[in-house]
Amino acid sequence: MSDKLEATLSQLELGVRRLVGRRHATEVAAELRDHLEESVRDSMATGPTREEAEEKAVSSLGSVDPKQYVPADGAPRWFDRRKRQVIVKWVIVLTLVIPWILFIAVDKSFAWAIPGTVSILVAIFFAIGFYGMRHIVLSILKTSIVVSFVCAVVTSFFLVADYNSSNPYLRLRSDVAELVTVKTKHAKSRSAKHEMTMRQYRYYLSQDTTPEGARAIVQPTMGHFEYPLVFRDTSHRQNWWKLSTDDFELAKRQWRKDGLVLVNAIKESESSSRIWLNNNLATLNQPYDLTLKITFMNCDTLLAAFLIVTLASGLLGNIVSASVTGARRMIDRMRPA
């Protein structure tokens, strides 16, 4: 077939493909190619040269409007494919990004990883329902590059802000702590060690109780390791003790150094607590040591893994997409005229 005729068919195929997808576009182009080839053959039998016959065939196509060639079973029903594609992509992007926004901005907890994972799965199934697996590989994974970029920018901002900030409370690092080990020790009694997740830790705090065997519990105010560091004696729950500012700074430095904070509650308690302590020294009759150890999950590694996976999948999607397209074109070219 002449270049002009082939170009017209390709243009039509591309237009139909944009409207209803590649499969239908290929069918439309194949049907029309078959038609034109036979038409050109018949026309040549009556005298004209191939060039003339093909020229006539091109003119018979008229103004090529892809919408006219949309097959019945691929015709857009409630709105066209392009709009569906935009909506689906946005749904996927939002379902991928929203959990992270919530994680970073609202709850600051890995609990959002569960609805986040669910929403990602829903988004994937949603996309499969619309486009099938091939489209997931070809297009949805491309979107993941955008998502990765957004996540990278957002998380990098927070991480950099954290590392370089003069904020002494290390908000992010404490916020993303997954495992909190609360270690309490009574100077002259058996020591108790408790390991719990942040969720459990918060639960105990909300329940106004402590794990069995604990003699004291530390509650970083608002979930942050910041002043005032409040703790209480389980034997006298109505009493909340605070560290002085100086001792808080000392504890913080110590925590930064080796992740361990030793607090002498009696010595460092503030006036109201001091009164209580003074009144109850006879009861306690001993110094009250408290050890707090917070173990942090390596959030940087987790984020890096997430970004690498999404970027790799996005790149893989593009590579597969390019390979499939290239192979299809090659097969089309090899097809006998």
Binding site: E27, E31, S39, Q68, V70, R335
Partner: protein, 107 residues
């Protein structure tokens, strides 16, 4: 005018003689009308797709020996009924026009 969808009627009539592919329909219409009716691809396929969507015809890809497969259209039950209705409609319409056009000296 009652007989509006004349292109659809022509396609239905062409397929009434048996299943055909796109170019076969064009050839059938051309030969049956002794080259009076010429149908271009740009006219044919939009109507074929519309009729397929309406359930009057059914397109099916059929293997073609040594060549890429081709789409062959055939009438469905609805299409056959539509063809009968079109024939009746055309007979009435053409009869009425004939009476008018061919009546000489009666006006």
């Amino acid at each position: 005018m009652a007989f509006r969808s004349d292109l659809e009627a022509l396609i239905l009539a062409a397929l009434g003689a048996g299943p055909k592919h796109g170019y076969g329909i064009v050839k059938s219409i051309r030969s049956s009308s002794e080259d009076v009716l010429q149908l271009g691809e740009a006219q044919l396929y939009p109507v074929l797709h519309r009729m397929e969507e309406a359930g009057q015809i059914n397109g099916e890809w059929v293997a073609n020996q040594g060549k890429p497969s081709r789409k062959v259209y055939s009438l469905t039950g609805r299409g056959t009924k539509a063809l009968e209705a079109k024939r009746k409609e055309w007979a009435e319409f053409s009869g009425a026009v004939n009476k008018l056009m061919l009546a000489r000296g009666k006006a």
